[in-house]
Amino acid sequence: MRNSTQKLSYLQAIVEAQREEMRRDERVILMGEDIAVYGAQSLFDEFDHSRLRNVPISENSFTGVGVGAALTGLRPIVDLTIASFVYLASDQIINQAAKLRFMTGGQLKVPIVVRTSTFYNNRTAAQHADRPYPLFMNIPGLKVVAPATASDAKGLLKAAIRDDDPVIMFEDINLWGKKEEVPVDVDFLVPIGKADIKRAGSDATIVSVAGCLLPALAAAELLAREGIDVEVVDLRTIAPMDKETILASVAKTGRLVIADNSHKVGSVASEIAAVVSEEGFESLRKPIQRVATPSVHIPYNQALERQLYPTKERIVAAVRAIL
């Protein structure tokens, strides 16, 4: 059992993570809009409906309800569906969940998990296509995770549910259908704060943020055919960031490209670049390259939208530029 796996899609892995944690711990509850029909139907079939709430359309309220419930010791998972809906709930997330432990002199804990998905590259336009990880990595007291594989999604979500601090998880809908072998062990966890080397290499480092793992691996494949050996570090946790793994990789390769689909100005890539230039400057042989999304809103038209995000071509070009 310990080492066995099961083929699951990214989305199924998320459902399984919730199912396992709900079975393990009856303090785990789930809230979201329309989840009984869209998203958590199989959980509604299994669990007592008092643990699953199809809530009114009121994001700041049900996140606040989640905070209130977390104060009693429950472990609420709040499903905010689309990443731009998190803005509506941001007062409860930023001013409350993230600050309560601090403001109460450590008396309170808020073990809430906020789940949300980035709907980019799917013709959802300016108000639904945001990838706002950097806004939230700027919030003390909040952990931010962004898995890019089914196993990481499962392991990180389970770790988030068991964590005593508020965690926001950004899921990527472009990965929903991606399948892989996922550990079935109910205690399989992916530690929050740990990056993962998804491909080892020695010529250059690509750090991928969230869904950029796929184009980063594809870029590494392309470069491998030319004899260029690239290491791909999947960040997985955005805050607190695993700087050790990044710095160790850069120490080995001397070259760094960061692929991040958030907007370039003030991106996650910007923070990684700052850390590496402060603490890894000596190992850098060429300037750090950020491959990110231009700082414009996301248009609906796919021919326009497609040009905006990091692609394997753009990542390859960035690596070549510093060889």
Partner: protein
């Protein structure tokens, strides 16, 4: 303080009266006969008309007669114009829904069964009054005579798209038509409408504003903030809550509709509230006229709950069979707005089946012609694309240096790939 004797607490979890496989059941609705509700003077104090929020203003009776004090007594030409507007809205919806199924656009939302809500309002307010709609009030644009070709070009995101390929299909906006941009995040338009109306009063203008929200989205804070501001400043605004019973898969009880009517929200704020049969064109028209008259005479805002039914899916991405009985739409006790107005016109001798069929055909042809023109500028499945780097514009009034840099870089990358 001992609690030894207190029983454990428990929660109420709202459940709709019927689910897939059940008989559709609307027996719990109290529906007063048409014509029985009094029409207060528009100068009445909100506190005098609290009972209005618990009843239903209805004008058209089961035989298609217009009865009671709310009958707006429209002439036959106006009634035919109303019928045409609602039928054109439906024909447009049906056409665009089919185009979506054929892959010419990615997404569409119909307003089937709710045509009266938007079309009657558009006819009852002035053409320069400002509308803050949701995605289900396309009837406002249609009734205001906005170009169907432009609507289609927006849906197709083609080279003539007035919104330059930026917005989701059906999220129209037209400054000229007094139709504000539709928000992807629910509820934001309600306080904006109040702000627009307050500014209109502040500038000693004469125009009023109207906002629409679904009953589901009344759970958003924005709705309640707007109610506070509207009453505190007696803003010249009409706040319409379109209670079509469903918010995607959530029935109205999830938004608090089992405990009180949505019109009753008005009472707590001290606002005038009306509850109307939303499938009765004349009732919606009369209620909107009443509210507009109050707004124009500085009596303040009105909340109108339109009691109606979302006859089809939420959008082309939704499957209502998953959460409600399939014959529920047919059982809806307040009928269909187009059928009811037609019945009325026939009853007063101003319409007949032949003319109705001929009008239906004419509108389908009108849709076809508009469709041909719009498609000549491209559809989503076609080649036509808006200008490749146009998304760098309109982020700010002037393109700042960092966007110039990013635009040039994107252009260089485009060139490199196409080499």
């Amino acid at each position: 303080m001992s609690r030894r004797n207190s029983r454990p607490l428990s929660l109420h979890i709202p459940e709709p009266p019927s689910r897939p496989g059940d008989e559709a059941d609307f027996s719990h609705f109290e529906i007063p006969a048409a014509g029985v509700v009094a029409r207060p003077d528009t100068a009445v104090a909100a506190s005098e008309i609290r009972d209005m929020v618990h009843t239903l203003v209805r004008v058209l009776d089961d035989d298609g007669r217009a009865v009671g004090p709310w009958d707006p007594k429209l002439d036959a030409d106006t009634l035919r114009q109303a019928l045409r507007a609602m039928m054109l809205t439906r024909a447009f919806d049906e056409r665009m829904y089919r185009q979506q199924r054929q892959g010419k656009t990615s997404f569409y939302m119909k307003c089937t069964g709710e045509e009266a809500v938007a079309c009657a309002a558009a006819m009852a307010i002035d053409s320069d009054d400002m509308c803050f709609p949701t995605y289900r009030q396309q009837g406002l644009l249609v009734t205001r005579g906005y170009s169907m070709v432009d609507m289609m070009c927006q849906i197709y995101s083609n080279e003539r798209d007035p919104l330059k390929g930026r917005q989701l299909p059906i999220m129209y906006s037209s400054k000229a038509a007094g139709f504000f941009s539709i928000s992807g995040n629910l509820g934001t338009q309600v306080p904006q409408a109040v702000g627009w109306a307050m500014a209109s009063a502040y500038s000693e203008d004469t125009r009023i504003a109207a906002a629409w929200t679904g009953e589901g989205a009344t759970a958003e804070g924005d709705f309640h903030y707007a109610m506070t501001f509207a009453t505190v400043y007696r803003a010249p605004v009409i706040i319409n809550v379109v209670n079509n019973q469903w918010a995607i898969s959530s029935y109205s009880g999830i938004a608090g509709g089992d405990e009180a009517t949505f019109a009753a929200r008005a009472i707590g704020y001290g606002m005038a509230g009306l509850r109307v049969d939303g499938n009765d064109f004349l009732a919606v028209y009369a209620a909107t006229r009443w509210a507009a008259e109050r707004a124009r005479t500085n009596q303040g805002p009105t909340l109108i709950e339109h009691f109606t039914y979302r006859a089809e899916g939420h959008s082309t991405s939704d499957d209502p069979a998953r959460y409600r009985p399939s014959e529920e739409a047919k059982r809806w006790p307040l009928g269909d707005p187009i059928e009811r107005l037609k019945q009325h016109l026939v009853a007063i001798g101003e319409w007949d089946d032949e003319r109705h069929a001929a009008l239906g055909k004419e509108l389908v042809e009108q849709g076809k012609a508009a469709g041909r023109e719009a498609e000549s500028y491209g559809t989503l499945s076609g080649e036509n694309v808006v200008q490749a780097d146009s998304m760098f514009e309109d982020v700010f009034k002037e393109v700042p240096w960092h966007l110039v840099e990013q635009r040039d870089q994107a252009e260089a990358e485009r060139q490199a790939w196409h080499k």
